[in-house]
Structure formats: C-alpha cells, structure tokens
Symmetry: C2
Subunit: 315 residues, 2 copies
Amino acid sequence: MRLAILGAGDVGRSVADLAGEYGHEVVAIADSTGAAIDPDGIDVERALERKVGGDAVGTGDPEAVFETDYDALVEATPTTLGDAEPGFTHAKRALEADRHVVLANKGPVAERYEDLRAIEAESAGSIRFEATVGGAIPVLSTIEDSTPQAVTAVRGVLNGTANFILTRMAAEGLDYEHVLAEAQDLGVAEADPTFDVDGTDAALKFVILANVLADGGFALDDADVTGIQDVPGSALDLAAEDGRTIRLIGEATRDGVRVGPRLVPENGALAVTGTRNIVQIETKHAGSLHNSGRGAGGPETATAVLSDVGRLPER
Amino acid sequence: MRLAILGAGDVGRSVADLAGEYGHEVVAIADSTGAAIDPDGIDVERALERKVGGDAVGTGDPEAVFETDYDALVEATPTTLGDAEPGFTHAKRALEADRHVVLANKGPVAERYEDLRAIEAESAGSIRFEATVGGAIPVLSTIEDSTPQAVTAVRGVLNGTANFILTRMAAEGLDYEHVLAEAQDLGVAEADPTFDVDGTDAALKFVILANVLADGGFALDDADVTGIQDVPGSALDLAAEDGRTIRLIGEATRDGVRVGPRLVPENGALAVTGTRNIVQIETKHAGSLHNSGRGAGGPETATAVLSDVGRLPER
C-alpha cells in the first residue's frame, strides 16, 4: 500500500523507516514544518536525515499531502484531547476521500469515537488503531479476532513511564521525585511527564478499549483516574512485606474505565517491570489471555501501525 | 460463512456450538460414525446431544460432506503423524474444490507443510491453522501481523499436561508417576498420555512454528525432543534452592526445533503454572512479545478456529 504519513516524530519516522520492509511505499511524510511528497515513493532516508538534523522533513506544503494519491493515511501527530484536533480532521478528510486511516494518535478514538465511526461508515476506507493501545503488543487485533462481544473486560498496565517509576521506587526504596528525575535522565519520562504520571495517558488507552468493547460511548472525562504522584515510598515497603507491590492498573469494561495505583501480587502477571506493558483480556469462552511486551517506542509503535496496514481491506 | 466441520470431539463440537455466536452457520458436522448435513444449517443442539449421548452425530454419510455447499472446512479430526492422513486428504479435497480450510488438526501443517501450501497456491481457498498452536492464545496471527520475516524465534510452553505435572511435582515434592495419576484423574492427562509427556505434542506445535517462520522445511523427525518422564523430583528441589524451576520448553527458529525440560527462573515469564501455556515471540523491531493463556480445551480451541474463520478472505 502507498502510505501518507502525518507526523515526523519517533513514530512517524519509524513507520517511514520500516514501511519498505513490510512491503509498503511511502508517498508522503509531513508535519507542521513541511512535507516530503513523491507519488513514486519519497527518499525516506534523506527525509529522515533532514528532520533528525533539525530541518523540516521536506520543502513541500503539508496541505498538499491530501492531494497525493495514497491508499492509507498514517495519523501519527501528537495526541490532543477534547476535540482531538487536528488529528480528527486529518482522519475525516482521508475517509471522506475514501482512503484508509491508521491511527497512532489516541485523540480521535478516545475523545470522538462515535463521530469517527460515523464518517467511516460513509467511506470506502476503514480505520484501524492498534498503535493507540499498548505499542507493540497486539491488543485490539486480539479483541477483534476474539470478537468484541466475547470479551468481558481488559485490565492491565499500559503506561511504561509510570510503571518504570513504581518499579524503581520498590526496587531501590527511593521516593517518587528522585525516581522521576532518573526516568527523565534516561529518556523514559518526558520533560513534562504529566500525562504519564497523572494517569491520563493510560486512561486514554483504556477509554479506547471501552469504546471498542461497547462500540462507543466513552471519552476521557468518563474515566475515573488517579495517578502515581502521591504514592509514597512507604506504601511500597508495606506492600512488599505482604508479598505485593503497587502498579498503575487500568480496567475497561462495557460499563466504564478506571485507572489508579493498585496492590498486585509481587510475582504475578500484572507486576510487569520497567517500562514493559501488559494486558489481560478476559473472554467468555477462552479464559484470560495475557499479552505483554514493549508498550512504547518509535519502532515498537511502528510495528503496530504496519500490522494494521497489513490488515486493511482492498478499497 | 458456512462451515463444514470434520471431527465431533471436544473441538469439533465446540466449534459447532459457538459458530452462531460468531455469525457463522454450520451446514455439516461429521466424524467416522456419521454426519449431520443440512445446506440451510443443521440443528446443532440436537446433533451434539446425539453425539454426547453415545450415538452417531447424524445419520448422513460422512462422504457427503464434500458435496455440500460450504465456504470453509474445519478440520478437527485427531492429529496423525507421518502422512497426516486422513486429515491431509480432507484439506486437499476442500482446497481442490476452491474452499477454505481451517485446521485444528496439527498433522498436515507439522508433517506435510510444503505439500499443503502447494495445493493452497493452486486454490481460490486459503488455509489457516491458529488452533494448531496454543489453543486460545493468538500465536500465529501475531506472527502473521508482525510478518514472519520480522520474527526471529518463538519460545515457550505449549503443552499444558506436561506443565501441570511439573508444576505439581515442584509444588508438592511428589514424583512423576504420582502426579501423572493425579493429572489423569483430573482429566488433564489422557489415559494414554504419551504424546504429552514425551514432548511430541509440544514438538508438533514448534515444528508448525518453524514452518511458518521458514516457509516450510520441517517435520516432526527434524525436531530434537526430550520429554519429562525422566525428570526426578530431586531435580526440582535442587532447582528451587537456586530460585528456579523446570518446565518443558520448546523453541522454534528458522534453523530448527528443540523441545526439552529446562531450568527457568521460578518467577519468570516462562514458569507458567498448571495447564497454562505461554509463547515468547522475539521480533526484530519490537523486542519480545509474550502471549499466555489457555492452551487447550474445546471452547478455547474453538475460539481460535472461529478467529481464523473471521480472517478468511472472500473466495
């Protein structure tokens, strides 16, 4: 398939980098600073060099991407809340032109799920969004193949930054601020880590899961969310005496979404360590499926985008 | 899709039972004793009652299944080795009639993979075989979506009977024969448990995985297999002193297949307990994905069959 990529951050660049390996062609990559467009396939290496070198990804006009002949739009611009713009309109324009949309941007499917599905219903194109939940871990495709009706709940750890911080607090007996600083030094936490540590990032993912299970009905405001900023080191010590630890656990069912720090058995499945993520998918007929892996990262998330591209139907 | 099911054991019956829930229709179910056939959809409940009650699943001729109008043949007859008959010929006949084949029977894809793919290449039908590896756990679809070229190895526990026995030996300090008897009482091990305890069942699954990674080239005879019958209780005690335990671990790469009892960290991912299975899928760009869940059982395996049916292309 021919891919038009919006977003030239870690994910967008990794998708461009790996697309050829999966048998696809990049006809455009753009962000707010510029665009590289070529209907015969752009020179990916040079576009990435320009961007990584501090220049615009190309000299073209980002607006021109929508005039290009592409099969699937990869929406990898930063997640925004509320009206989920400009990501939502990017997806809308592609669908209205009967193109497919593969999202790595959580905003449209967390905040405006039913609106997006309504536009998809009128389009020859389809939306897929595996990359919005759990990075490299195949969560949504597992639910899709099980059929959502057969899935009763999804629970797990879907934010690697928060999980890393809690793992390190427990392992070293250090307090939150200290470990946060360490995480930022390592690049595991951003300069502004708010959405990771206050539970918003995890909540967006579990809202997306609830929308998939219930076919819509949820947005971030519907989620009951508590972050990890107030977890004291002493709570982890106390938990350890009882063979437990604390993780930022989320849960999505057809009835709603909750995210918060929870006690979990120290050696249990939910006590993933470091930046690793895990989902437990509860099913009607097949018990509990656990998928764990790397929940974030450019190449990791790109593999989810490219898995989705592989599952798009012919238009 | 309209399903013709060959095999009326746990798996065949569960597929018939759940097919409606997944939106599919059963037009035939047959085994060596008889067949229930109706192009408008059989009465599944009555067919299952007959079979479970000790009668034939129907009064029809099993041969007539191939004359029925169906979209996908579900091959759920017992796994056989070597020439993989009659399962192989069942699949061949369906493909030669341009129908799809969904296998729960390991024989054709473990022992005659390239032969089957060659027939598929000449057919408008496709083969899928998620149910042959890991029951409810989506292993092959995960590899397919990642693209097999991006997967370097698959490792794990894929036999629940052997895993249950080792778990109980370690937990209770009991010897192999004692725990085997317990497993048979619980229905976790068959009256003839040979293929489970000597590693053959696990090896067939890892051979199938190696065939997927390398696009053929392997059969059971190529696998290096050691079972659990000679693991003494003392080995597990010794392992425990070192924070480890023993599991029957298999590994498939493009270079081959090995199955045998291995030391693993006691609280690590590979030390799944009871009858649970786990696969670790090593990928080029996304690190290690772990999928665990129920590796066997009628409904569990049926969900894998029905996931496959959902992923069949239109003919």
